[in-house]
Amino acid sequence: MRNNSSKRKTERKRRSGIINLLARLLKEKPLGAVGLLITLLLLLVGIFANFIAPYGMNAVAAGPSLSAPSIHFWLGTDNLGRDLLSRIIYGARISVIVGLVGAAISVVLSTIIGILSAYIGGAFDLIVQRIVDAWMCIPPLILMMVLISMVGPGMWQVIIIMGLSFGITGSRIVRSSTLSMKANMYLQASRALGCSNIRILTKHILPNIMSTIIILFSTLVPTMILTEASLSFLGFGIAPPAPSWGGMLTGSARNYMFLAPWLVIWPGVALSIVVYGVNVFGDALRDLLDPRLMGGVGRYGVKIKKGDTVKSKLAARSDG
C-alpha cells in the first residue's frame, strides 16, 4: 500500500537538492565556501567587467605612465598610461572564458575518446591508446607552443588548442572509469535483452561515470587558467594588448618591472587567488559528491553522537 507521507517527503527532498548541497558546503567545508565565494566573484567580475572597471580595457594615456598606486589609479598605471586595475578586471573575463570553455571542450573530447576507446576495445583501443601515449610523452607546454605557432596567437586558438591537448590526455581517466564499468554483469544482461550499443552507452555507462567527468572538469578549470597564463607569459598565448593576466607579466612589463614592481605583482596575485579559490571549491564539491564518503560513520576521526542508533534514525526519517 502506498504511503502518501513518504511521497511528500521525497518531493520535498528533490526540490531542495541544490540548496541541500549548499547548506552542506557551508556547514562541513568552510574552506570550500570561501572557494565558492572567490569563484562567484570571478564570474561576476568577468561578466560585468564593463561596468566595474573604472577605465577602459585598453585606455592608453588615461594617466601618467608608470605611476604608483594612487587614489585615481588604485593599482597604478603601466608604461602606456593604462590603469592596471581595469586591465586586471578585464583579464578576469578572459580567465573565465578560457577556464570554462576550455575545460568544457576538453571534457567533451576526453569523454568521447575515452568511452569509445574503452567500449569498442580491441585493435581500435590499442591504436588509440598508442596515439594517446605518444601525445602524453610530449611535454604539454612545448606541444602547445608548437601548435599555437601553427595557428597564431589569439584567445579562441588558445582555447581550442588547450582543449584538444588536455582532452587527449584526460581521455585516459575516462577510459579507465569506463573499463571498470564495462566489467559489470548488468551490461551483458542488457545486451542479451537486445539493447543497442547507443542505449547502453547513454543510459548505463554515461550516468555512472558522470562523477568522474565532473571531477575531471573541476580539476581542469584551474589548470586551463594557469596554462593559458603560462602560454601568454611565454608569448605563445593571447597577444597584447589583450589583458591576459599571464601576458601582463611579460613583454614590456619585463622592461619596466624594476622601476614599477606593481606591474608584475597584481596580475600574479589575481591569478593566485582565482586558481586557489577554484581549486578549493572544486575540492569541496568533490568531497561532497563522492558517494564513498557519504554516510560517514566509520571514518577515521568521525565522532559518533551519543544516542545515534539505526533505530532512532529510521524513526526520525519516517516522521517526515
Partner: protein
C-alpha cells in the same frame, strides 16, 4: 619479469615513432617557413637563391621523404644513409652545428634543474603530507592543505619574477649570469641553481602533498595499522614503518606522471632565470623554425619520458609484492 621489460622496451618503439611523426609534421606546418625567414634576414646583404637554400637544407623533397631521411631509412641527398637510427640527429638548420652537440651542451642544465627540483619538491611535500594526514582536520591540517593548494595555484612564472625583482629592488642582488659547471665548482653551481629549483619544486610539491595525504589517509584506516596501534607501538613507528611504505607507492606513480608537466615548468623557469637549458633551446628553435633542432630535442624528451615511465612501473613492481608483471 625480464619478458615484461623487453615487451615494454619494444612498445617504446611505436610510441616514439608516433611522437616523432606528430612533432615532425606539426613543426613543419607552422606558417613562416625557415626559408622565408632566412631570405628575409639575409636577402638584404647578398643575393639569396631560394631554391639553392632549400636544396642545401634538404627541404626540397616531399615531407615523407624528409621524414624517412631524418629517421635514417631513406638515403640523403648525397646517397649516404644517416639518421636517427644511426645516431645522427641532423644539423641545426640555422647554425649548422650537429643537433646532438646542441642538445649535449644544454641537457646538463635541464637535468640538474629537474633533479634539484624533484628533491626539493619531495622534501617539502612528504613531511607536510604525512603530518597533514596523521593530524587530519586539525588546524595544522588546514594550514597544510591551504599551503598545498597555494603551491599549485601560485604560478611559477610569477613566483620566479617576484624572486628576481624584489631582491634586486631591496638589496641590489641579481642572480649570477655565467654558468658554472657542477664539476668545477659545486658550491657556485648550486648557488645558481638553488633558487630556480625551489621555484620549480614548489610548483610540483602541491600535487605531491595532496596525493601523499590522500594515500596516507587511506592506508591509516587499514586493519593492519589498527593491529599495530593495538600492539602498543609508538605513533612514529606505526606511521613511518608500516603506513608510509604502502602509501608511497602510488605517489611514485604520480611523480612519474608529473615529469612531462615539470618540463613545461622548466621552460618557464629557464626563461625567467636565463638558464641555457633545453627549454630555452626548444623555445628559440621553435621561433626560428629550426626544424631539426626541435625534432631532435623532442625525440630526446620523448625517449626520456618513456624510460622514466618504465622505471616508475618497475619500481612500483619492486616495492609492491602484490604486483606481478608477467
Amino acid at each position: 619479469m625480464r619478458v615484461y621489460i623487453i615487451r615494454r622496451l619494444l612498445l617504446i618503439i611505436p610510441t616514439i615513432l608516433l611522437t616523432s611523426i606528430i612533432i615532425f609534421i606539426t613543426i613543419r606546418l607552422i606558417p613562416g617557413s625557415i626559408i622565408d625567414i632566412m631570405v628575409a634576414q639575409f636577402g638584404a646583404y647578398a643575393k639569396v637563391d631560394k631554391a639553392e637554400v632549400e636544396s642545401e637544407l634538404g627541404l626540397n623533397v616531399p615531407i615523407y621523404i624528409q621524414y624517412g631521411r631524418w629517421v635514417g631509412v631513406v638515403p640523403q641527398a648525397d646517397g649516404k644513409i644517416s639518421g636517427v637510427l644511426e645516431g645522427n640527429l641532423g644539423d641545426s638548420l640555422w647554425h649548422g652545428t650537429p643537433v646532438i652537440s646542441e642538445i649535449g651542451s644544454s641537457w646538463p642544465v635541464t637535468f640538474e634543474l629537474a633533479v634539484l627540483g624533484l628533491i626539493i619538491s619531495q622534501a617539502i611535500a612528504l613531511p607536510i603530507g604525512i603530518y597533514s594526514s596523521i593530524r587530519q582536520d586539525t588546524w595544522g591540517d588546514y594550514v597544510a592543505r591551504t599551503f598545498a593548494i597555494l603551491c599549485m595555484a601560485v604560478p611559477g612564472f610569477w613566483l620566479g619574477t617576484m624572486i628576481v625583482v624584489f631582491p634586486s629592488i631591496w638589496w641590489g642582488y641579481s642572480p649570477p649570469i655565467t654558468l658554472i659547471p657542477f664539476i668545477t665548482n659545486p658550491i657556485g653551481n648550486l648557488k645558481m641553481f638553488i633558487i630556480p629549483a625551489i621555484v620549480l619544486g614548489m610548483g610540483m610539491a602541491g600535487i605531491s602533498m595532496r596525493m601523499t595525504r590522500t594515500m596516507m589517509l587511506e592506508v591509516l584506516r587499514q586493519d593492519y595499522i589498527r593491529t599495530a596501534w593495538a600492539k602498543g607501538l609508538k605513533e612514529r613507528v606505526v606511521v613511518m614503518r608500516h603506513a608510509l611504505r604502502n602509501a608511497l607507492i602510488p605517489v611514485i606513480t604520480i611523480i612519474g606522471m608529473q615529469m612531462p608537466v615539470m618540463v613545461g615548468g622548466e621552460v618557464i623557469i629557464e626563461n625567467i632565470f636565463n638558464l641555457p637549458g633545453m627549454g630555452r633551446l626548444i623555445t628559440t628553435a621553435t621561433l626560428d623554425r629550426d626544424y631539426t633542432v626541435v625534432s631532435g630535442a623532442m625525440i630526446v624528451f620523448g625517449i626520456v619520458m618513456v624510460l622514466i615511465n618504465l622505471l616508475v612501473d618497475l619500481t612500483y613492481g619492486y616495492l609492491d609484492p602484490r604486483v606481478n608483471y608477467k
